[in-house]
């Protein structure tokens, strides 16, 4: 079952389309990366899924419900961390969480205490006196404390130090292990590659790819560097090898796809040394990010 499904979801601000015909499907229990450059429409999509905005066209179903019409009951099962988190500066951390828990019906209890301990947050201070990282921790605890079925996190690792980031990753992995779903927006490729099972890539308000990370890895290029022994020239490289630089004694290029043809060619060639790098998703993502003219978005 898809926890999030959108069908031709479109959002316009006057003449400008922030999101165009988005067909997104997030299966249950996934750690789903939502990737795209700034202004690609990620935050607009998340706001539509939360019922903060109404779609110009198309529709969305979150946990099988319409976020615009079924907002309150739906949001009881969603934990959300905004990209630009703003909190009640005059409340303390404890008062903030108590207010949010009270509105949710005081169900957090033990989970709230566990998360506060896990993220090592001092709740006695006023939020206004918190550092950015502490505010982000508070926002994460608020999003996680009611054990939601769907976590929507808009660039959650902003301002987090590596240790807290690792704690967050563990919490998110634990959530998906329990069958809960995480929709994780980011523009950091390495983060999504490390954490997510599946990714959707947005550019200029359009979905340009949705695929499992494992499949993308197969599509990603491997950088190949071959040194040849002196002697007769090697046979022509197989069609899958994009040659970047070729000399009589060496070759640099990029390989895409299964390795067998490449290995067969190397076996037949007078190879002195070879280096084949792991699949590089960075190049793949940058290719997705580039516009029709090849410029990076």
């Amino acid at each position: 079952m898809d926890v999030v499904a959108t069908f031709g979801l479109t959002k316009r601000y006057g003449a400008r389309a922030a999101l165009r015909d988005l067909d997104l499907h997030v299966p249950a229990g996934r750690l789903f990366g939502f990737l795209g450059p700034n202004g690609a429409g990620k935050t607009t999509t998340l706001r539509l899924l939360l019922g903060l905005m109404r779609a110009t066209a198309g529709r969305a179903a979150v946990l099988g419900r319409d976020p615009w019409h079924d907002g309150p009951t739906l949001r009881a099962e969603i934990g959300y961390l905004p990209g630009d988190l703003r909190l009640y500066e005059r409340l303390s951390g404890r008062e903030t969480l108590a207010f949010l828990d009270a509105v949710r019906g005081r169900r957090a209890g033990a989970e709230l205490r566990r998360l506060v301990e896990r993220f090592e947050l001092d709740l006695s201070r006023r939020v206004g006196a918190y550092s950015r990282g502490m505010k982000q921790k508070l926002g994460l605890i608020a999003a996680l404390m009611h054990r939601p079925q769907l976590l929507i996190l808009d660039e959650p690792t902003t301002a987090l130090d590596p240790l807290v980031r690792a704690t967050l990753y563990e919490e998110l992995r634990a959530a998906t292990a329990e069958g809960r779903t995480v929709l994780f927006s980011s523009h950091t490729l390495a983060e999504v590659e490390e954490l997510c099972d599946e990714v959707a890539i947005l550019r200029d308000g359009r979905l340009i790819e949705q695929e499992r990370i494992a499949v993308l890895r197969q599509r990603a290029v491997r950088h190949v560097h071959v040194l040849f022994r002196p002697g007769p020239p090697p046979p022509d490289p197989p069609p899958g090898l994009t040659v970047a630089e070729r000399r009589p004694d060496s070759l640099r290029g990029a390989w895409r796809g299964p390795l067998e043809p490449l290995l067969a060619w190397l076996a037949a060639a007078p190879v002195q040394d070879v280096a084949i790098a792991p699949p590089d998703l960075q190049d793949l993502f940058l290719a997705y990010y580039a516009d029709e003219n090849g410029r990076a978005a």
Binding site: P72, T73, R75, D84, R86, A142
Partner: protein
């Protein structure tokens, strides 16, 4: 209605909820003192009040002339329309209404509030209940303030409270009416300053029309758009009964605006801060 949000709305305004009532009470205590001082030379006061410009101002503010009737209860009506008193009342009202929605959106905390399992209607109604309760209560504050002043200064003649409570009731309708409009504007815009600015500009314009209509016949038909046209303490004190018609207009306009604001707030996009 959500109790946690109701408490938070009141808590957000806690310093104003302490300061404004205190200010109103002190103002009314001072008003009794001024009344006692004025009564020392009633003839001078009578002559001063008969000056044309003063009469115009009295008519504008109180809705009628004193016409030589200078009893303490009649004179104290100025305390119900004094700019300082109205400024205190409007400060409390506008601070609460503008903070409830436009403030949340402008600060970005609406992303937190409106992604909780609360409908927008619940947010609108709950925050409205909080300011409406405060506004309704604040309108009655002059009565204990004046009573306190009497206890402190012991004037020779006492106020007739059975003539003053209808003014407080009329004032309550005024605060609820203005609050309804202010809430609708707060739900329609995304910046607190803008919400306050629109309401203040509207009130100022309405007061200018009301004032000009006192001496310019061509503008007189427009006085019905003036808020103060429906809040006239002097005729109310004389009649000693609430001005039900004026109150119905104030409450009707406030309710209509509030309902329109509710309708709009439920449908609008909430932009990122």
């Amino acid at each position: 209605m959500n109790l946690a949000l109701f408490r938070k709305t009141l808590r957000d305004a806690r310093w104003l909820l302490i300061g404004v009532p205190l200010g109103v009470l002190l103002f009314d205590v001072a008003a009794i003192r001024v009344l006692i001082e004025g009564a020392r030379d009633l003839e001078f006061l009578r002559q001063w009040l008969e000056r044309p410009l003063v009469q115009l101002l009295v008519r504008t503010a109180l809705g009628a002339d004193f016409a030589g009737e200078l009893t303490p209860t009649v004179l104290v009506t100025f305390a119900f329309v004094h700019p300082l008193f109205l400024a205190l009342l409007y400060t409390l009202l506008l601070a609460m209404t503008s903070n409830a929605l436009a403030g949340e959106i402008g600060r970005g905390t609406a992303d937190l509030l409106l992604t909780l399992p609360l409908s927008r209607s619940t947010v609108y109604v709950t925050t409205s209940l909080a300011w409406a309760l405060v506004a309704a209560g604040a309108a009655w504050l002059p009565l204990p303030g004046l009573w306190l002043g009497e206890q402190i200064f012991q004037p020779a003649s006492r106020l007739e409270y059975h003539r003053l409570w209808p003014v407080a009731l009329n004032l309550m309708a005024l605060t609820l009416g203005v609050g309804g409009v202010a809430m609708a504007i707060s739900g329609a815009v995304s910046r607190r300053g803008l919400a306050i600015g629109i309401v203040l500009a509207g009130l100022l314009l309405s007061d200018i029309v009301h004032f000009v209509a006192q001496f310019w016949a061509a503008v007189r038909p427009l006085r019905v758009v003036g808020v103060m046209h429906y809040y006239r303490p002097l005729p109310t004190v004389r009649a000693a009964t609430p001005p039900w018609g004026d109150m119905a207009v104030l409450l009707g306009v406030g309710l209509a605006a509030w309902l329109a604001g509710w309708w709009h707030f439920r449908r609008r996009d909430i932009p990122a801060a």
